[in-house]
Amino acid sequence: MLRFLGRRVLYMFVAFLCISLVTYVLMKAAPGSFLSMNFQEGGVSQVAGSYNVSPIVMQSLVSYYHLDDPWYVQWFYYVKGFLTWHMGTSFEYPGMKTTHIIDTAFPFSFRLALMAVVTALIVAIPVGVITAVKENGWADVSIMFIAMVGTALPSYVVAVLLIVVFALWLHWLPVIGYTQWQDYVLPVLSLAIPMIGSMSRYLRNSLLDQLHSEYVTGVLAKGGGMRHVVGSHALRNSLLPLVTVVGPQLAGLMMGTVFIEEIFNLPGLGHFFTSAANLRDYPLIMDSTLLYAGVILIMNLLVDLTYGVLDPRIRRSFDMG
């Protein structure tokens, strides 16, 4: 198990380096960025001129970003900066470190995502179990139809539909603001509904696979009831395929917040990211991308570990090598 863990962490590190390299290259290649100055003619003074900055300031920026060093040194400092949480300053908010923006905005987004996940799990697991046990009954068919609709729509379309119904027609819930708990209902629901759709569908299907497998007959033959079958056998086994889909979904959810924050005007990292993208605030773009990449990698690692916990076959095969 330890060896497996070590290998996964090593792999994660390699993947992280690759991602950072790609973002770094993209950043260097970006047109109109002073960061790409070692591709440009004329050196520091020329670039400083074109940015209307004094050559002295420019020179300090250049040495700050190690722009006079070869690319791999720059890359090294870039990664080191991220890992030690000492990244550059934002273009858009001068004097503000990107880490500061991230420090305040990321927890907000993360909380939003977490609330959505918890809501989704709370709803999806019972729904999945009920529909699977009542396979092809009217409840199953109708719930699964609704779930399919939910799956098909992206969170921001759900958000719009929710706004139309609950804010516009019924005036039940507010749409703007982030101070009272009611403000969070619609954003969290918009994120959760597509997830509830897909998670309950996956859980139902994987639970059905389990319920149709022969060992269930084995449990029944021993005198067990449906309670035993689901509770102590099938549900646990069906979580394994669920984890496979939930992992990447969580990662996607972290990004889904970008659009929800945009629609509901919430001050999450996604919101800053969007404006950074529109305003070409490269340091902020790159740093938040790296952060999201890190979050996704950690999620994937957790998924792999969960596999090991849930499935003894995998656990034992890891032990062997």
Binding site: E214, Y215, G218, A221, P312
Partner: protein
């Protein structure tokens, strides 16, 4: 245990499958009964029906099953659960499929006792280890902590037997328990089954496609074809006194490692397609070498030709010489 005129159909996607078309058999206390038939003969469905373990789209369309004088079909799910595992236990063809791959052998073995609240977990585990030793599994204390995938097929089938016996059932139903195993292992498993049946004085129903296995293991044999019983007789009478053309055909088909090296005489034609409407008359008529006009219009019923010997064929004749049943 008694099964009478059982009819089971599967309805799925608009089609009807005539899985069991009137089956009757009885097992007495301490007796072993072999149910023999080829695939699609309804033998597995019949015995799973005994414990109502069929999927939802299976419908009982007639007949009756009684166990120890009680009718089973009207029983509620809760009531039938009291019988399962405690009174009647089952073992299946593929032990790897019939065990949960993610739970240890020990945890699954004690379940019959836990479900019926017959022991605490730790007591149950002691019993499980003891039983594993009885079915011939070396170092059972270690084995209970292992998972099904760490066992070979033969070993796992022993585990299944031990698990089935843990709640001391009166009847053990073994559904093709040795089909997936190598011959040497098959011989071992059958021996274990025979020994435990003797020791525990329970009844045994052995479902198999192999006439020889059934004849060697059981006291009595029921031969099924197309979801009907075509012949029922004591094992000793099988070779010499069986009368149904299908039973005779099966005997003739079975290859042997001894005696004359001649090709077996095949039964012509294809097995009955149970998804199509059933033919009128004898279900075996199409493949029968002795088929008469009457067989195509009229369905033969089981008639007694000797003590404990019934045949569903118009050509069957009563035995005059005494046969020991």
């Amino acid at each position: 245990m008694e099964v009478n005129d059982l009819v089971i159909r599967f309805r799925r996607d608009g089609g009807v499958s005539h899985a069991v078309n009137s089956v009757s058999f009885r097992v007495y206390e301490g007796e072993s009964l072999g149910i023999v038939g080829e695939s699609g003969s309804g033998k597995s469905v019949s015995v799973k029906a005994v414990m109502k373990l069929l999927p939802k789209h299976a419908k009982f369309e007639g007949g009756d099953i009684t166990f120890a004088g009680r009718s089973i079909l009207p029983l509620s799910e809760g009531a039938i659960r009291h019988l399962r595992g405690r009174e009647v236990a089952l073992i299946f063809q593929d032990p790897h499929a019939y065990l949960n791959p993610t739970k240890t052998i020990g945890a699954q073995m004690v379940e019959p006792l836990l479900f019926h609240r017959m022991a605490t977990k730790s007591e149950a585990l002691v019993q499980a280890i003891d039983l594993l030793r009885q079915v011939g599994i070396p170092s059972p204390e270690l084995r209970v902590k292992q998972y099904p995938f760490e066992f070979s097929g033969g070993m796992l089938q022993r585990v299944m037997i031990a698990m089935a016996l843990i709640a001391k059932p009166k009847l053990l139903i073994a559904d093709e328990p040795t089909t997936a195993l190598d011959v040497t292992v098959q011989a071992q498993i059958l021996q274990v089954l025979r020994r435990l049946k003797q020791e525990r004085r329970m009844s045994l129903i052995l479902v198999t496609h192999d006439l020889v296995v059934a004849a060697n293991t059981c006291d009595r044999i029921v031969v099924m074809y197309g979801g009907r019983v075509v012949e029922q007789l004591p094992s000793q009478a099988l070779l010499s006194q069986s009368q149904h053309p299908y039973t005779r055909g099966l005997i003739a088909c079975t290859p042997s490692v001894r005696g004359e090296r001649t090709l077996p005489t095949p039964i012509g034609g294809a097995p009955l397609n149970l998804r199509r409407p059933l033919p009128v008359g004898c279900l075996f008529a199409e493949r029968c070498p002795h088929c008469m006009e009457r067989c195509r219009s009229e369905s033969p019923v089981l008639k007694t030709v000797a003590l404990g010997h019934e045949v569903a064929c118009f050509l069957a004749e009563p035995q005059t010489s005494g046969v020991s049943a």
